[in-house]
Structures are given as structure tokens and as C-alpha cells.
């Protein structure tokens, strides 16, 4: 719980330090991309801090490449 609060604080600091200047300079596109990525990062971190099981991208990779990996391992045995 405290971890999530800490994350939110850090994110707010990042946002004010990075996104507000972007808005002031009128870089709307940069601002949008930054905000979306930050939102994504924040939700991931909070999920992690609340011990929600996040699927690992490595599992997807292993799933996609499974036939190839198996083939490699059997032929080179």
C-alpha cells in the first residue's frame, strides 16, 4: 500500500518535471506520448506493488518459439 503511494508521488514529480514544460512549449504530441507511456508504467508498477500477477512477456516469447526451440534442442542433443 505504502509502495503504491510512493509510486504515485514519484509519478507526480515526473509529470510536473517533464510534461508541464512540454505543454508550455506546445509540444502536444510529445505530451500525449509521454502521458500514455507514464500511465502504462504507473499501472504496471502499482500492479507490481500490490502483488498482482503480471504476465511475463518471456512467456509469450516461449509460447511463440516453442516449436523452434524444441526442434533445436532435439536435433542438437
Amino acid at each position: 500500500m505504502w509502495m503504491s503511494v510512493l509510486i504515485v508521488v514519484v509519478v507526480v514529480v515526473m509529470f510536473t518535471a517533464e510534461a508541464i514544460p512540454l505543454l508550455k512549449k506546445g509540444n502536444i504530441k510529445e505530451f500525449r506520448v509521454f502521458s500514455v507511456l507514464l500511465l502504462f508504467g504507473t499501472s504496471l508498477s502499482i500492479a507490481l506493488s500490490l502483488k498482482v500477477a503480471i504476465p511475463s512477456p518471456i512467456d509469450w516469447i516461449e509460447f511463440i518459439y516453442k516449436p523452434l526451440t524444441d526442434w533445436l534442442q532435439t536435433t542438437l542433443k
Partner: protein, 362 residues
């Protein structure tokens, strides 16, 4: 993109540190398991194949010398296919950055500071990497130039100090290995050592001030890094023996623990640790730089700096979730990583090359 230029010398050093990178600690164990006492021969063959791959990267880089890999992909494969391939490539660089961060945290918490949670190392290391990337390519290339002599001094010192422990009978009998384990170990060596320089195409040849010389520098850097790795692999085998090398997670670190000169110079394995931290720092920073610049080019924004913080946050989370434990990370590195790395390190440049050739003809 603003024009940033680094010198050929800086590029060579980046190639060396990048290629030695994560490999230094992990490779000896991986290939000693397959090739036993002939692991050093497998490594030499692997370096040979690596030089061929560098040739391929050089050719791909010279399709459009004034573009980064992402721009080349988009130009050669067209807008839509290009975007999809770019997203896949960024997925590759981001996940792999997260994995390197995992290696750092895991190494520090198992070998050096066992009481500290792994997240602490990952966050600290990520902050340093983010700062480095925000300063830009020129700055971290220059810092590589400053740190490189130290790396070489530590490396030479390490060889001299370990030499009394060498037992040459550990690599005998030579060439007892069969063809299949040999192929497998060469493949493992290549997968860790020479599939990732594709990421260097984000800074080469566009950001190097002399493209012609840079191609030679790419070869030279890979060759020197290969020699460093062959030396380390040979040393771990002649000092620790094949059994110990194959069973340890970090054989080259265990190797450094053996250093003992006259009862007063001992336990200096942190030499090895600092060499490794230096090299993996540059490996991670180039991967992360590639991800950030690539992402900026994907969404068409001029300055990549605003993206460093959120993407940094994402790689920290990735570094925690990529591998639930060390066993799975070993399985992944010996298994799926080979085809996954080859998709981007071998297939992607080949496809780019062929499509570019066909397009030029029509």
C-alpha cells in the same frame, strides 16, 4: 533528430564493451556444459561466425548510411509493415533491457549484497542508465572512452593474478568433442555474443563521423571482444575445471575468488564484478538508447528525452517480472532466446537486405 556524432575510436570502444557485456559472466558456464574442456575451441569458432554476422550488419547499415535501423525498416518494408516490425523490434529491445537489469540485480543480490532486495539494485541501476541516455549518445560514448582503459587494466591485472592457478591438464584431452555438442555450444555462444549487435545499427553508421572507418571499427571491436571472451572462457576451464565451470552460475566470478597471492592478496573478486558492471552498463545503455530513440521515431517525435523516464519505469517493472527465478532464466537463455534473438539478429537483417535489393532492381 539532432545530428550527434561520435568518433570511430569511441565507436570501437562501445562495440567492445557492448559485446563483452553480459556475456562475460554467463557464457563460460553455458558453453562448458555442452562443450566440456573444448569450450574454448567452440568460442573461437563462435567468434569467427560473429565476424561474418558483423559483415552482414555492415551491409545492412550501408543500405541507407544516414538512417537508423528503425528508419531503414520503415523505408525498406513500407509504412505499415515497417511499423509492425518496428514494434516487434522495440519489444525485443525493451524486454532484453529488462532482462539485463534482472541480471544486474540478481548478480548483486546473490553474490555481493545478499540482504538487499533486488528491486533496489534495479532501480538504482536504471536511474544511472536513464541519466546516461538523457545526456545523450555523445556523452556516454565519451564516458566509455574514459572508462575503457580501466577495464583493460583490470582485465590484464586479473589475468596476471590468476595465472599461478592455471592447471593446463584441465583442458586435456583436446578435441574430444563430438559434432553435435560442438554445434550446440557454438550456437549458444553466438546467440549471446553476436546476435545483439543488430542493436548497434541504431547508432551505426548514422552517428559515427566516418562511415568507412566505422565498418572496420565494427570488425575490430567484435574481434577484440571475442578475444577477451575466449581468454576468460579458457581461464575458467583451466583454473576451475569443466565440472565446476558448468555447474556454477557465474564461473568467471568464482574464478576471481581463487586469486590468492602469498596469503595477503585474496578475495579480490570485486575486480571481476566491477569489470562486469562496467560492461553490462554499456550494453544496457545501448539497448535502452535504441528502445527510446526507436520509440521516438516510431511515433514521429523529435526529442526522445521525455520518453526516458516512463520507459525506464517500464524496464524496471520488466526486470522484476521477466524471470520468476534463476532456473527459468537459464532455461530461457539456452532455449527460446536463440530463435528469438535470431529473428532480430539474423532474419531481420537478411529480410531487409533482400527486400532492399529487390526494390532497387524494379
Amino acid at each position: 533528430m539532432e545530428t550527434i556524432k561520435i568518433s570511430v575510436r569511441q565507436f570501437t570502444i562501445l562495440v567492445i564493451l557492448f559485446s563483452v557485456g553480459s556475456s562475460m559472466l554467463i557464457i563460460p558456464g553455458i558453453i562448458a556444459k555442452e562443450a566440456k574442456q573444448d569450450a574454448w575451441i567452440a568460442a573461437i569458432l563462435g567468434v569467427g561466425v560473429a565476424l561474418l554476422l558483423v559483415k552482414l550488419y555492415n551491409v545492412v547499415g550501408s543500405i541507407e548510411p544516414n538512417m537508423t535501423l528503425i528508419e531503414i525498416i520503415e523505408k525498406v518494408l513500407g509504412k505499415w509493415v515497417g511499423k509492425i516490425v518496428t514494434i516487434a523490434f522495440l519489444f525485443f529491445t525493451l524486454v532484453t533491457s529488462g532482462e539485463f537489469l534482472y541480471f544486474v540485480g540478481n548478480f548483486m543480490s546473490t553474490e555481493i549484497m545478499p540482504e538487499t532486495p533486488i528491486l533496489a539494485f534495479n532501480i538504482l541501476f536504471a536511474i544511472v542508465v536513464i541519466i546516461g541516455v538523457r545526456y545523450g549518445l555523445e556523452t556516454f560514448a565519451r564516458s566509455a572512452e574514459i572508462i575503457f582503459p580501466w577495464f583493460i587494466v583490470l582485465f590484464v591485472l586479473f589475468i596476471i593474478l590468476i595465472s599461478p592457478n592455471v592447471e593446463i591438464q584441465n583442458i586435456q584431452p583436446v578435441l574430444e568433442i563430438k559434432t553435435k555438442p560442438m554445434l550446440h555450444s557454438v550456437l549458444l555462444f553466438i546467440s549471446v555474443f553476436s546476435l545483439s549487435p543488430i542493436v548497434l545499427l541504431m547508432i551505426f553508421p548514422i552517428a559515427v563521423n566516418d562511415a568507412q572507418q566505422a565498418q572496420k571499427a565494427f570488425f575490430k571491436g567484435t574481434f577484440i571482444a571475442g578475444i577477451i571472451l575466449v581468454i576468460i572462457i579458457t581461464l575458467t576451464i583451466v583454473v576451475l575445471g569443466t565440472e565446476a565451470t558448468a555447474h556454477l552460475m557465474y564461473p568467471s566470478y568464482a574464478l576471481a575468488k581463487r586469486i590468492e597471492i602469498g596469503n595477503f592478496l585474496q578475495r579480490i573478486e570485486v575486480i571481476m564484478a566491477s569489470m562486469w558492471i562496467i560492461t553490462i552498463f554499456f550494453k544496457l545503455i545501448i539497448y535502452f538508447y535504441a528502445s527510446v530513440v526507436g520509440f521516438a521515431q516510431l511515433v514521429n517525435i523529435k526529442d526522445y528525452r521525455p520518453l526516458t523516464l516512463p520507459l525506464g519505469m517500464i524496464i524496471v517493472v520488466l526486470s522484476i517480472i521477466v524471470h520468476p527465478n534463476i532456473v527459468e532464466s537459464i532455461q530461457y537463455n539456452n532455449g527460446s532466446w536463440i530463435p528469438f534473438g535470431a529473428t532480430f539478429g539474423l532474419l531481420l537483417p537478411l529480410v531487409l537486405l533482400i527486400v532492399a535489393k529487390v526494390r532497387k532492381r524494379t
